[in-house]
């Protein structure tokens, strides 16, 4: 065994040049060969890279997709994001547990299957969905889930997962030879920027005919703002990076769209990879970077071969590599960095940590990535959709781009819409479109609430439906989850808090502890045991967590609680009971004494329990 361990570890480390900054890739490759990363594999990797054991163990324990213990040869991850739960993920879960004879978190005795929950795998429009290793299985029912497992069992280990699981290919490039996925694009509305017919190379050609400073000026004139949700002006970010000192600069594309309910980047990566790579190349030219990194979330591993193929084709055509398009002095290439199932890595400093082969812990700011980013070099981290706007701005002109959308939020925005509506999928709409118009387009007119911007965004009610989707009003990275009549805002808040508890990296106390306390109190109210002071408690604790947390995760994680408190206060108030004699209504004395009564064989003398 130890020989085969060496055989697995040494060549992998060798293939990455024993570079500790590629530790995440090394561990993913080792896991693929060994099935899991146990203590001995950790020792072997640490020895091979000559780094402390704890550095390796820390990375293994951080990422959901890296397993410290032995796991089944096929790992089934059922998505438990809200849209999935609304579409019946719990029933699918029960079906899988029954068919496999195990509970979530367990492995079948024959070592064939492990069953786990996944936070959001970017398939909210075709929920419930699961990953079987890296094969996506959307639109599951309890029946199909059971049949698929039974069929995989019958085929044994030799069977090709994809052949069993993928019964028909999705539309567009989902049917490409290197993708072969049953994922659907559900592109409901193509707009003028991202999904308009593309003229390959037009933007890049124009950019290379300009100076980098002119490219940045063009992007600034278009008033392009970051599409990840924060809306920071892209041109300004590039200017900071360009102005920063350093022998090298880096461009990183954040394709770790982990905000639950977001899946628009998946459709871009599937249908417009060339537009994205062209945008990355232009950005590299603008900031003076020779290297770009596409940080691809682990959940989208099924797109990796396809994207590598697109990159290879671009190298072949001279669109990447030395002297891009024959432009002397401009070399630029892109590598794909796989993520491994950690939401916090969508936060740019955590994402940089992850690219460096570390735990995906956020870094302190300042210094900002534009000054000291990847490996200490000035780095620009941009969203997939932002980079896709760039070639179009160069091709069509900044005036064209700025004429769309609203004054301060120009261009179009991709929205990933899921939940209680008839047309779930991706919509490309001008920024500044009202929520009411969006709901009309997606068939969600009877919504009682909409979560704008994923869990870290806001839950708003009908009185906000005339507000606009843009950076200065209802800001969103693209996720809209529609809740129809009968959905409970407190349930929504509680589910989102469960998500944040799971995804908190645990580094700082306000986030690690505060989110748990927030969920406990919400659940107490949900159970009918809340009292009026609880609302004040939630508001104060939420504010503390936001103020005192170290990174964007904790600075936004109380939003589900705070925005429902603000917008759905009656739903809280209807459940509150003033305490009788000052006693907390949720304190169940009989339950707390039951065990003692059993052990002593007598009744309580004080309580009728």
């Amino acid at each position: 065994m130890s020989a085969s361990l060496q055989d697995a570890v040494a060549p992998v480390c060798e293939s990455f040049g024993r570079d500790r900054t590629r530790l995440l890739d090394i561990l993913l490759a080792v896991q693929q060969r060994l099935g899991g990363i146990d203590d001995r594999a950790i020792d072997a990797v640490a020895a091979e890279l000559a780094i402390p054991r704890v550095d390796v163990a820390g990375v293994v324990s951080f990422y959901s997709f890296l397993a410290p213990g032995p796991r089944g040869r096929t790992v089934i991850r059922l998505c438990n994001d809200l849209p999935d739960l609304m579409m019946g993920a719990e029933k699918v879960a029960a079906g899988l547990e029954e068919e496999l004879g195990i509970r979530f978190g367990e492995t079948t005795p024959d070592g064939r299957f492990t069953l786990e929950w996944a936070s959001c795998i970017g398939m909210s429009d075709q929920a419930p969905a699961a990953l079987f290793d890296d094969v996506v299985v959307p639109s599951l029912t309890p029946g199909t889930a059971r049949r698929l497992v039974a069929e995989l069992r019958r085929q044994g280990d030799a069977g090709d997962l994809r052949r069993v699981l993928v019964r028909e290919y999705g539309d567009g490039a989902n049917a490409h030879d290197l993708v072969r996925a049953s994922v659907k694009n559900n592109l409901r509305r193509a707009g003028e920027v991202i999904f308009a017919p593309m003229e390959a190379g037009a933007g890049l050609g124009k950019a290379l005919a300009m100076s980098p400073a002119e490219v940045i000026r063009e992007v600034k004139t278009a008033r392009l703002r970051g599409r990840g949700g924060a809306g920071f002006p892209t041109g300004m970010k590039w200017e900071f990076v360009r102005a920063a000192d350093g022998p090298q600069r880096y461009l990183i594309c954040n394709a770790d769209e982990g905000e639950p309910g977001t899946f628009k980047d998946r459709v871009i990566l599937t249908e417009r990879p060339d537009l994205l790579f062209e945008g990355m190349t232009i950005a590299g030219y603008a900031i003076g970077a020779a290297h770009g990194i596409l940080y691809l979330r682990g959940e989208y591993a099924y797109l990796r071969d396809y994207l590598e193929h697109v990159l290879a084709a671009r190298r072949e055509k001279g669109l990447l590599g030395k002297a891009v398009c024959g432009k002397a002095g401009f070399s630029f290439d892109i590598r794909i960095q796989m993520g491994a199932g950690a939401y916090v890595c969508g936060e740019e400093t955590a994402l940089i940590s992850s690219c460096e082969g570390l735990r995906g812990d956020p870094k302190n700011r300042p210094p900002f990535p534009a000054q000291r980013g990847y490996l200490g070099h000035p780095t620009s981290v941009n969203n997939v959709e932002t980079l896709c706007c760039v070639p179009r701005i160069l091709q069509m002109g900044s005036g064209w781009f700025a004429s769309m959308g609203s004054r301060r939020s120009t261009g179009t925005k991709l929205l990933s819409i899921s939940g209680d509506c008839t047309r779930r999928g991706v919509f490309e709409l001008p920024l500044g479109t009202t929520l009411r118009e969006v709901l009309a387009q997606c068939g969600g007119e009877d919504a009682v609430a909409v979560q704008v911007g994923g869990p870290s965004g806001k839950l708003v009610g009908p009185d906000a439906f005339d507000r606009e989707i843009c950076f200065d009003d209802l800001a969103t990275g693209g996720a809209l989850v529609v809740f129809g009549p009968g959905r409970d805002p407190l349930w929504v808040a509680s589910q989102y808090m469960a998500f944040f508890i799971h995804e908190s990296c645990g580094y700082c106390t306000p986030c690690r502890v505060g989110n748990v306390l927030l969920k406990e109190r919400i659940d107490r109210i949900l159970a009918g045991n809340g009292e009026p002071d609880d609302l004040d408690y939630l508001a104060r604790l939420g504010a503390s967590v936001k103020t005192a947390s170290r990174c964007g995760l904790g600075q936004t994680s109380p939003n589900p609680v705070l925005s429902t408190l603000e917008n759905f206060r009656p739903a809280y108030e209807a459940r509150l009971k003033p305490p009788v004699d000052g006693r907390q209504p949720g304190f169940d004395i009989a339950a707390k004494l039951a065990e003692s009564q059993r052990l002593t064989g007598r009744k309580s003398v004080h309580f009728d329990a």
Partner: protein, 181 residues
Amino acid sequence: MAKPKVATTSLCGCFGCHMSLLDIDDRILQLVELVDFDRSPINDIKEIEGQVDIGLIEGGCCNEENLKVLHEFRRHCKILISVGDCAINGGIPALRNMVPLEECYREAYLNGPTVVNPAGKVPDDPEIPLLLDKVYPCHEAVKIDYHLPGCPPSADTLWAALVALLNGKAPELPYELVKYD
């Protein structure tokens, strides 16, 4: 006009917070001038006799007796204060929350190295209060108006809080009185 009334008790605590109260030194003479004591270990009154203005609770809530006393205090006290880390967080006694209750009983009454128990049974004497399944902070069982942290809160902290409340003010304590590192 009658003097305000103060009551104190120690639930699942070590009386350290009461010691800290006595540590106010000669100010205890002023305190006696300012208030009357109802139920308290200081005067050994066992039951609260009437309405109380300020109740101080030391210790968390670990058994049925604690819970009964806590309910009694809550019913009679206008202002109820959790004093010290055990009342606020459960403190040291809450370490047992990580041990199954049955093991706690067995260790205490059957298997402990100093136990002599020929009957070999967990006692069922009503004089021995039934344990709650866990040790709870007081505010989980009843509403608590103020928390005075510390292990124990210093005499100055207790004094400052009491004086503020007796003057009808909210106890807003300076940083020096509530910092512990």
